[in-house]
């Protein structure tokens, strides 16, 4: 996989040092919902390429991009590289270089396809490509007629690119299972290959009909219809399909992903037709339960209603209507006892605890419909869609960010997984939820929601305004970008390390030596920032950064002021200015973060305080001794007078005797 090279080592204007993007040549309808532009391989001429432009808060899919690099999978537009490209206006954007479609999409000229053509030209090549993805633990998640291409009549189709946006984020609700369509587009998660089988089934149906099914219905109505009737019945409606295709679609559109045929099975449609997994019809209540004007007859639709109207669900629980309906109308004793247990656990929390209410509804939804996604106060997502949804929340902020923070802080994913443990890897999800909560609760700028966001989105660029339009998705690109910013003195406001950059560094450094803060707890934010950036320069062997060093030196005033000796402060500031010219951040750090000189400074202060105490006590003593001094002066004066008198007498006597 070609990756973004460090700034300065790649030829300018090339992505990954190899691909040139032609932003004046857009490719319409080629990117599967993402802006696409023509691209050229500067080193090898060959297949047509395109560059998919990444959204600011729509991270590319790291696993597929990494695992599919250098592979040759027929029937799939593979990613070749990702990196940063310069736009004509001088700003930058992230791009994914990808094979270009061989022809128009299947939606370009709508018509009703024959069964034979569907099986030979669409189903088999698509199943082959999906099988290759499934073998690598990957999914496509963007299968729909306008993202499937064909070179010409009779040719096998090629699945479009799906790597430059969160999985299924551009999918219409019709092409996704209702449990996925109910989620926020960015929160649909990688899912499983069974979700691709579902989308392929809807695509086959669309082509067979010559038009999309359920056209004219909004997304909510589509989901409601699928949940109420089942996807197959809701999508097929009154249409008449050939027998083989009808049987295939019945399996491919099954509600339970486990009941859908794997891609391998679809390579032989006749065999796949005979593979039928009987799904137990849902238990229907004797009387409906009314929620927000909607009649609820089954547990599945009840789960969906509770997700959409959580406050109504809480009211039903408190009024015991839900318990009565489950016990008497639905008559599912096992389900009722599990629901009772959830309600009992809620009773152990304070009545006005909204988060406990949300957790209760989340558990109820998971119990009532184990196939449903995680539902938290009207927000639905799959746990593996948490990362992309967090990235969206970076741009949106507000309510979405608040709810996601609640989900992480209350380890809602663990509670959801525990409630439907037979349908997911609950221990792994619980462990992940605990780790995310640790990141969230970590103090300082290296924790919080941004830290979780960057940790879960390895290709998400840093959102710091200090980077001034530079796209920095890799740690190695951070220092050159900051150095570029430092070349503009008017942008050097505050420290060159704000909260987004701190969270970005912390997330990208996980697992590296020195990934966490290593200084004393008393270190100020200036020293901590300098330490982080100095370690980056060391670990990436970055070239000298005189601009960034000067920027840091300008901001080290508070750190210098922590030294006690005033004269030493002035010397440090001057020394720092001289060292900044070398561009070596570790030298700056060594000057300010030297334990020996720090200890000497502290010792000097201690001695100065002792000397000051001595001076003050002596001054106080001198002030208090005035009376004693006067008494001493009197005594001494009198002694002197007596001495003089004695001397005079002795002299007089001596003169008398001697002379």
């Amino acid at each position: 996989m070609a990756d973004t090279p460090a700034a300065g080592s790649a030829p300018p204007g090339l992505v990954a040092g190899q691909f040139r993007v032609d932003f004046v040549a857009p490719l319409r309808d080629a990117g599967g919902g993402v802006e696409a532009f023509a691209a050229h391989d500067e080193q090898h001429s060959g297949a047509a390429l395109m560059a998919l432009r990444l959204g600011r808060f729509a991270p590319a899919r790291e696993r597929p991009i990494t695992l599919l690099a250098g592979l040759n999978i027929p029937g799939l537009l593979l990613p070749l590289a990702h990196g940063v490209a310069a736009l004509p206006d001088g700003t930058e954007c992230g791009v994914v270089i990808c094979q270009a479609p061989p022809g128009p999409s299947l939606a370009a000229a709508p018509r009703a396809w024959s069964e034979a053509e569907l099986l030979a030209s669409v189903l088999k090549p698509a199943a082959l490509a999906l099988d290759a993805l499934a073998a690598r633990g990957l999914t496509h998640r963007a299968l729909r007629p306008d993202n499937i291409f064909r070179a010409g009549p009779g040719e096998a189709v090629v699945l479009g690119a799906a790597w430059a946006a969160p999985p299924a984020s551009h999918q219409n609700a019709v092409f996704e299972p209702p449990y996925v369509a109910a989620c926020r587009p960015a929160g649909r998660g990688e899912g499983s290959i069974a979700d691709d089988i579902y989308a392929l089934g809807v695509t086959l149906l669309t082509l067979a009909l010559g038009h999309p099914p359920l056209a004219g219905l909004d997304e909510g109505a589509v989901i409601q219809r699928k949940l109420g009737l089942g996807s197959y019945a809701a999508l097929i409606g009154e249409a008449r399909l050939p027998g083989l295709l009808s049987d295939l679609l019945r399996g491919m559109l099954a509600e339970d992903p486990a009941h859908r045929p794997p891609p391998q099975a679809l390579l032989d449609p006749s065999a796949a037709r005979s593979r039928r997994v009987a799904a137990r019809p849902p238990r229907r209540a004797q009387r409906p339960l009314m929620i927000a004007g909607q009649s609820i007859w089954e547990a599945r639709t009840l789960a969906h209603a509770l997700f959409r109207h959580p406050e109504e669900g809480v009211r039903l629980v408190r009024s015991l209507h839900l318990d009565h309906w489950l016990r008497r109308s639905l008559g599912d004793a096992a389900l009722t006892s599990r629901v009772d247990e959830v309600v009992r656990q809620r009773g152990e929390q304070p009545p006005d605890d909204r988060r406990a209410d949300a957790t209760m509804v989340l558990r109820l939804v998971a119990l009532l419909d184990p196939l449903a996604p995680l539902a938290w106060r009207g927000l639905a997502l799959w746990p593996d869609g948490l990362g992309p949804l967090l990235a969206v929340s970076l741009g949106e902020g507000g309510e979405l960010a608040g709810r996601l923070e609640e989900i992480i802080d209350s380890e809602a994913v663990a509670a959801w997984a525990q409630a439907r443990a037979e349908h997911c890897a609950a221990p792994a999800l619980r462990q992940g939820a605990q780790q995310q909560r640790l990141w969230l609760r970590r103090g300082g700028p290296s924790g919080g929601l941004a830290r979780v966001c960057y940790a879960l989105n390895p290709l998400l660029p840093c959102a710091s305004p200090l980077l001034a339009g530079k796209v920095v998705a890799r740690l190695a690109d951070l220092l050159p970008a900051l150095e570029a910013t430092a070349q503009h003195p008017e942008r050097r406001q505050g420290l060159p390390l704000d909260a987004p950059i701190a969270a970005f560094i912390a997330a990208r450094q996980d697992g590296r030596p020195g990934g966490e803060r290593g200084g004393a707890a008393s270190d100020g934010v200036e020293i901590e920032s300098l330490r982080l950036l100095a370690r980056l320069q060391e670990s990436f062997a970055a070239p000298p950064l005189p601009g960034l060093a000067a920027w840091l030196a300008e901001q080290m005033g508070p750190a210098i002021d922590t030294w006690n000796h005033r004269g030493r402060r002035a010397e440090l500031a001057e020394h720092l200015r001289r060292l900044a010219r070398t561009g070596q951040l570790p030298l700056l750090l060594a000057l300010l973060d030297n334990p020996d000189t720090r200890a000497a400074d502290a010792q000097g202060l201690k001695q100065a305080r002792a000397a000051l105490d001595r001076i003050n006590s002596e001054r106080a003593r001198l002030a208090a001794n005035a009376r004693a001094r006067r008494a001493l002066a009197t005594t001494l004066g009198h002694e002197i007078a007596l001495g003089i008198g004695m001397t005079a007498l002795a002299a007089s006597l001596g003169w008398m005797v001697l002379g």
Binding site: I615, E618, R619, A641, G645, L649, S652
Partner: protein, 167 residues
């Protein structure tokens, strides 16, 4: 421990008795000497009594322990009385000669002037010593103030309280 650290109330200090006894014996000896002088050499005693009269008067009114002013006056007066006493001795130790000298204003005023000089000395010497001590104290305070200002400037220590005067 109590007996060692501090004498019990009412007990005599070991030094008190020892100090008072020699002083009393000295006074007794002085009285004996004065008595002997008055008996054996009455003219000389009369002459000295007149010449040292200011000192004796101050000795009566001086309330300062040790009577330093009176002692200084007596010493100075005695120094000025040595010459008249020798003159009396040389001209014969008679009462007439003693009265002649007493009547000589120059002799008496010289002795009294010496006593006055002793008084002035006893009064001025403490003032001069106090001035010297205060000057020394002020100089030391100035040194300390300078050292404190340097410490405050070098280490950012809070400036100390207002400068106390020398008292």
């Amino acid at each position: 421990m109590k007996a060692v650290g501090r004498p019990a109330r009412g007990a005599k200090s070991p030094g008190a008795g020892g100090g008072a006894a020699p002083r009393r014996s000295l006074v007794w000896l002085q009285g004996l000497a004065c008595g002997a002088l008055a008996t054996l050499a009455t003219p000389l005693a009369a002459l000295l009594a007149v010449l040292l009269l200011p000192g004796f008067l101050v000795l009566l009114i001086d309330r300062v322990p040790g009577k330093p002013v009176a002692r200084a006056m007596l010493l100075c007066g005695a120094a000025a009385s040595v010459a008249p006493a020798r003159q009396l001795w040389d001209h014969g130790l008679s009462m007439d000669n003693s009265l002649d000298l007493i009547a000589n204003m120059l002799v008496v005023s010289g002795a009294w002037a010496a006593a006055a000089a002793g008084w002035l000395l006893a009064e001025l010497a403490p003032v001069v010593v106090l001035l010297v001590l205060e000057a020394t104290t002020r100089r030391r305070l100035a040194e300390l103030r300078g050292a404190r200002a340097r410490l405050a400037a070098d280490w950012g220590l809070a400036a100390a309280e207002d400068d106390p005067g020398p008292g």
